[in-house]
Symmetry: C2
């Protein structure tokens, strides 16, 4: 039976990593002076500051995160709260990349805090706040009256939301104008002569679902078109169910001749469904779908798409939380991407 002979982790100094003490020794100064000099504090002589900074730079000094965090409470971490039940072809990688990209030039690290959609969405947020494990949070799948937003706002914890809420005016966010998307989509379908449209909307509870439906209804009225109700399914529904529901939809007497789809992934199932029901895309019916990958036009030549850039969203969200952390003016932390056109197949 052998004893755990774990070779205890070396301290920074032991590992040859320079600390303030190292630099203090090298420069012959006190630790305090070095600390302040590295922050360019004015009460340190200019020459001393330069000298310290030079040495620090030469020896590759990096502040020990644990030290800073323990002393100041600043974690230099931002937490991205993610729903782990995201649908196929989800945008997640791109958001993550976008956030990383922005954050790369800062001392911040990105940590992923997962939760299951069907569990309590407050859980991860509470965890981060209660344990103080990050300086800021990014949340998505916002609902109009979002308890997470209330919770975070009440405590003054810096955050940014992907999607708007009713409390919009008071917190940083980034959003895609889904209302505009739906209007563009409906108008395009109207232009090509479609008369009765269905909408595959996002999960009803989410804020942007309402936006989408509003834009859809508005443009429908404006163009004088009819709606073919497509209930029971949302962009969160499984592909199999969407396919089945689409078959059912197309067999109705008042079937649609146009569909607006909020989800690129779901559009695959939509098309599969309508083809299974014996209809032909571009012939009997047209679809305008949002997409974030470029895959839909390869999928079916006739599909119309509106692109949503999630990497950009990630970048904006990162900018927003960081801004929130050092209390930048709110207006600069809110952004909305308005889609400007539908990409339609060549004639």
């Amino acid at each position: 039976m052998d004893v755990d002979q774990v070779p205890a982790k070396p301290t920074d100094a032991e590992a040859g990593r320079p600390t303030l003490k190292t630099i203090a020794f090298m420069t012959g100064l006190g630790v305090t002076t070095v600390s302040r000099a590295l922050k360019d504090a004015p009460e340190i002589g200019l020459e001393t500051r330069k000298r310290v900074q030079l040495v620090a730079q030469q020896v590759g000094y990096r502040p020990n995160r644990a030290g800073v965090r323990l002393r100041t409470g600043k974690t230099n971490v931002i937490s991205l709260v993610l729903d782990t039940q995201e649908q196929v072809g989800s945008f997640v990688s791109d958001i993550v990349y976008g956030v990383s990209e922005h954050i790369a030039q800062t001392p911040y690290h990105l940590i992923i805090t997962p939760y299951a959609r069907d569990k309590d969405p407050m859980e991860p947020v509470r965890y981060v706040v209660e344990t103080g494990s990050a300086d800021g949070i990014i949340i998505s799948r916002t609902v109009p009256n979002d308890p997470r937003v209330r919770y975070l706002a009440e405590r003054g914890f810096p955050f940014a939301t992907h999607g708007r809420t009713q409390q919009n005016a008071h917190h940083p966010f980034h959003d895609f104008d889904n209302s505009a998307f739906a209007r563009l989509a409906v108008r395009r379908l109207a232009e090509i002569g479609r008369k009765r449209l269905a909408l595959l909307a996002p999960a009803a509870s989410l804020t942007y679902s309402q936006h989408t439906r509003d834009g859809f209804a508005e443009a429908l009225a404006e163009a004088g078109l009819a709606e073919a109700p497509f209930s029971g399914v949302t962009a969160d529904t499984s592909l199999d169910e969407i396919r089945a529901a689409t078959i059912e939809l197309m067999r109705r007497e008042k079937r649609p001749d146009g569909i607006v789809s909020s989800s690129g992934g779901a559009s695959f199932a939509l098309v599969a469904g309508l083809e299974a029901a014996g209809f032909s895309l571009g012939q009997d019916i047209d679809i305008v779908s949002k997409q974030s990958f470029g895959l839909l036009p390869l999928f079916r030549r006739h599909i119309h798409v509106v692109n949503e850039d999630f990497r950009l969203a990630g970048r904006e969200l990162a900018r927003a939380v960081l801004g929130a952390i050092d209390s930048a003016p709110l207006e600069s932390l809110q952004s909305l991407v308005v889609p400007s056109d539908v990409v339609s197949p060549q004639r």
Copy 2:
């Protein structure tokens, strides 16, 4: 001009978060005793241990990560190193979810460390090791003689690779048997009477590209089929280029009547290309493709697929690094998923 009146972050105690001191006070014990009691150290009286644990549990004590980290060097963080230039429909989200899922039941946090494929892949790894910002690393896109593996192994830094290397025998990994995939694919194509096959392989430098090509060549020989060389493109190539190259490929005299594709995303472009060249999938040619989303069969009914589960990969990788961290036996930290069948369209 207003002074920065930042309301300095409260300490744990100030914020009402219990610390060891709090519990020590409540129980009337010393801080040391409390610390040890919480770890169930045998030298603390049984009753005391129980008592301390009860109180800790009641007040919701959570060890301060910065404190632990500063004192012990243990970060309770694992770093997932990601290539931010990943192709469309990348597997990234699923890996992230898989890792999160496994890690959720542990004190570990997941941090994403990004890098650009065309920059130095050593950079992120060096960063993590030098700054000691994690207890373990997961890397992917491994090459046979991977400098990152050498670097990490030399320093005894715990890690796991997604994909194997030449130093296989000496480090934890998780991999999908791409050689088996290629063999299955070729055999299926042979079964349905295809004679000349092309392979869309992963980027040549990656270990699993070699595996794929080996399996492909082997099964080709075994079945007595010919190869239509498909050079210049890999699974990393842009979809546009793949599409163009496929058109070119199909216009050759010795065009393939079967393609094995290592990437679900790329298969979209493959199909688009061959259709643009005037050929018909399932008629003139068949494709067997790996996929991680379920989208391909919806895309074209005739496509044959082999599923690769990246969420599982994430879980296994997490298990592997954690194992590496507390020096579990190597064998238990290596796993290989062998695909067992090709899912072909209904007749």
